[in-house]
Symmetry: C2
Subunit: 336 residues, 2 copies
Amino acid sequence: MKLSDIGEKGLLERLQKFSPPGILGDDGAVLATKAGESLVVTTDMLVDGVHFSDVTTSAEDAGWRAAAANLSDLAAMGASPLGITVGLGLPKDVAISWVEGVYQGMVNCLNQYGVPIVGGDIVRSPVKTLGITAFGQVEPHRVISRNTAKPGYVILVTGVHGASRAGLELLLHPELVDDKSENLSKQEKAELIKAHQRPQPRLDILPILSQIFDYSTTRLPISGMDSSDGLADAVLQICLSSGVGAILESDKIPIPRSAYKWRSPQQVLEYALYGGEDFELVLAMPQDAANTLVQKLGQNSAIIGTITAETTVLLSNNIESNPDQVLILNRGFQHF
Amino acid sequence: MKLSDIGEKGLLERLQKFSPPGILGDDGAVLATKAGESLVVTTDMLVDGVHFSDVTTSAEDAGWRAAAANLSDLAAMGASPLGITVGLGLPKDVAISWVEGVYQGMVNCLNQYGVPIVGGDIVRSPVKTLGITAFGQVEPHRVISRNTAKPGYVILVTGVHGASRAGLELLLHPELVDDKSENLSKQEKAELIKAHQRPQPRLDILPILSQIFDYSTTRLPISGMDSSDGLADAVLQICLSSGVGAILESDKIPIPRSAYKWRSPQQVLEYALYGGEDFELVLAMPQDAANTLVQKLGQNSAIIGTITAETTVLLSNNIESNPDQVLILNRGFQHF
């Protein structure tokens, strides 16, 4: 069944089941916000052939990843999600099963956190395009910003980095998946692929931060963002915004163990620093709080470095005989 | 200057001037909402060649219209705007002046109401695409919904209909603009074109409704939506959602006078009912309130019909000798 068979109204009716009853049907969706909380808004565009493709991404994976990326942005701001809107640009001949697959993938991810799809728009376009906007709420003094890192804070990551990029490599070269000389078990390969296809936004961090910090009136002493554009990019953005520098210890960065069986230590480090799309949080905070957070999060989280009063971000390379290096922006994926 | 010359970061820097200082730069934008108010969210996708084209729409017009359409959705919900996010899908070779023109057009429209652009995303796409999400706030009992029209309510429009469609006709056939046999003055043509290129969202209606209705605790006795998809569509949607019918008096519909000098009465009525994009509000409410509202709004607003307990929407044709007719959905522009 193609879109041209059932038209926009037909498709809208079929997509209603993915939203709470009664929330669609007006010019806008109405949502309650808690008194005294601030609204946080984030938006992403995803384009077929650029951000997803039938080669590496099923419709459900594309939907999951799109939802996860936006929820991750909210988590990185310290905000609890309220809902998302979905704009769809679709060619006439798009299969309805593809569109429903995207919605199913989004809902599968969103349902873990009770987040509804509260509105959307479906239009004709020569290229499959998703425009997603997520909004959440947070007490104003609990907002996590990029520009509040202070020298002496340590840098913490909430999970492994490089797994998503390694999984993408397997998806781009499917011949590797069946190649037994590749030194990875089937399960290890499946886990890396899953890291790419089904990333988890770290909304679970927010209640843990609430436990750790007694910040009923004072501003949260945390700076941070997510690592969607790579771990190196996240650290650099935090430092640039805060007017500080950092030293990262490359051997402290949590990396999926299987990756080392497969690629050289230098390649694995590249995946971790520049691969992107791991959707973990990169947080700078006082040492004590970071120790407690790592304890609560378990082995995949780690303190990986320190904020300094310099203006450079230095990578202290303890792998092999690599010299230390200064990280620079834009080493990662370029959009244009 | 092309996008490929300056890249995404270069473009982002140039677009910062269109947003309030300090609001961009994090994973999401933080906005204050008033305690006790509900959040209203609406989203639109616009695609080059479908919703705008260089033939009929300059970059600034495309931006203005995109912003106006979203603010109109908020007005139709009774909500005061808080901000918008803008997702941009752009080909590599897009002219930077085009992108800045779109932003300038959006800001020109938004500034009338003090609404900021609070975030966005810029990605590569083979086709110029705009994904706009607007959010506003409203006291929960002041929400204007489509599904609360009651038999006995009258139907009111806040302004003329058909002007946007007539203006589009002139834009699609530029030879008409200079053709003196077309029976319209230059100024009349310019006004029709402006109606299409620079529609005004009717946010000015909200404080007037506040004056008219003493509804500090009870629900606003108004049902409505905007006429972006045509006046006929708006009346039909309200009636379908509310489980009621309506009688419209075709000669009560406010139509730009110049249109009659140019097109047959039947053609002009078609423009008014099905042309769309006039972005007026179509409101059903008790007669007394409607009388007061029309008095306050002036000559271009009008009561055009009545909500009935039937399930049909009847157009009572007082133009020439046309018989009455039953309006049906989907008579207007089809997206697929």
